[in-house]
């Protein structure tokens, strides 16, 4: 979900818009520190890379940390989509229901 959010936000993907994207699509409040914990783990696994921006006054002089999905991360996203699509296929219990 975090990888997809980074991809949807694009070049301006730092903590705030990533969390907002997850809240909008997921429909629930996101804890920013949990997002960062997951991002650190993804970066450790080589699925995302990060770079520091310039400090800005509205952030109390603190810099933004921008995230990008690496080619390895893109590959992982595609594999996950393929696996999920296969899992969804043929589930008759979920057909015709309201949700």
């Amino acid at each position: 979900m975090i990888l997809l959010s980074i991809l949807r936000v694009g070049d301006e993907a730092y903590g705030v818009p990533i969390a907002r994207e997850m809240e909008t699509t997921g429909g629930r409040t996101v804890v920013l520190s949990a997002v960062y914990t997951a991002l650190d783990r993804l970066e450790g696994n080589g699925l995302v890379s990060s770079s520091m921006g310039d400090p800005t006054p509205e952030r109390g002089g603190r810099a933004k940390r921008f995230f990008r999905v690496t080619p390895t991360g893109l590959k992982a996203v595609r594999q996950t989509r393929k696996a999920l699509t296969q899992l969804w296929a043929g589930l008759t219990q979920l057909e015709g229901g309201r949700s």
Binding site: V31, T56, G60, R62, A63
Partner: protein, 200 residues
């Protein structure tokens, strides 16, 4: 209820205990159009996450820190209760009749915990200002503040002092002392210039 400016105390907690500058910046930036509840929820979650990752990164250091803090909490809390009781008995021996009328606000003790804790944090911040250069004085100030708080608690909230054992209501008094000492520690930590835990 929205907040234009995040709580200074919350930001101080972040600056003091959270190492990730980008996370702190994100929280401050988001506070502009979020509720106070949301901001505090995020701050407390960040503190918890930082604590967990610090313990995982330096388990020995974290264990030592927790043991020392627990020992200090217990020692200062015990000291405060004993000193307060000794003081009250000395006053009784020296015609301190006023202590006989102690505990007239016993029913209001639960309402006094919040201001007592706030007072402890403020006292801790004052002590934190001298903590690095004058550590002995800081420890003595901690003991004095905790003992005074315990004595005031004893006089205001513990009824019929002379008719009770040497340390009446020990659990209640110890809880109050620990609450006060915990507030002192938080106040000192928010201002002390001690070396922080290593960044992760």
């Amino acid at each position: 209820m929205n907040t234009r400016h995040p709580s200074r105390f919350a930001v101080t907690l972040l600056d003091r205990f959270v190492a990730d500058e980008a996370l702190k910046g994100d929280l401050v930036e988001s506070a502009v159009d979020r509720t106070v509840f949301w901001f505090w929820h995020q701050v407390l979650s960040a503190l918890l996450a930082q604590t967990i990752s610090s313990v995982r990164a330096t388990p020995r250091l974290a264990t030592e820190a927790m043991l020392v803090a627990a020992a200090m909490l217990a020692l200062i809390g015990f000291n405060a209760v004993v000193v307060a009781n000794l003081l009250s008995h000395m006053l009784l021996l020296n015609d301190g009749d006023w202590i006989l009328h102690s505990g007239r606000y016993a029913s209001a003790q639960v309402y006094a915990t919040a201001p007592l804790f706030a007072l402890a944090v403020l006292s801790g911040r004052a002590i934190g200002a001298i903590h690095r250069e004058h550590r002995v004085w800081a420890i003595l100030a901690c003991s004095l503040a905790a003992s005074t708080a315990a004595f005031v608690n004893y006089y205001l909230f513990v009824p019929t002092v002379p008719l009770q054992p040497f340390i009446p209501s020990p659990a209640q008094q110890t809880a109050v002392a620990l609450l006060f000492v915990g507030g002192l520690f938080i106040g000192i930590s928010s201002r002390s210039t001690c070396e922080p835990l290593p960044s992760l």
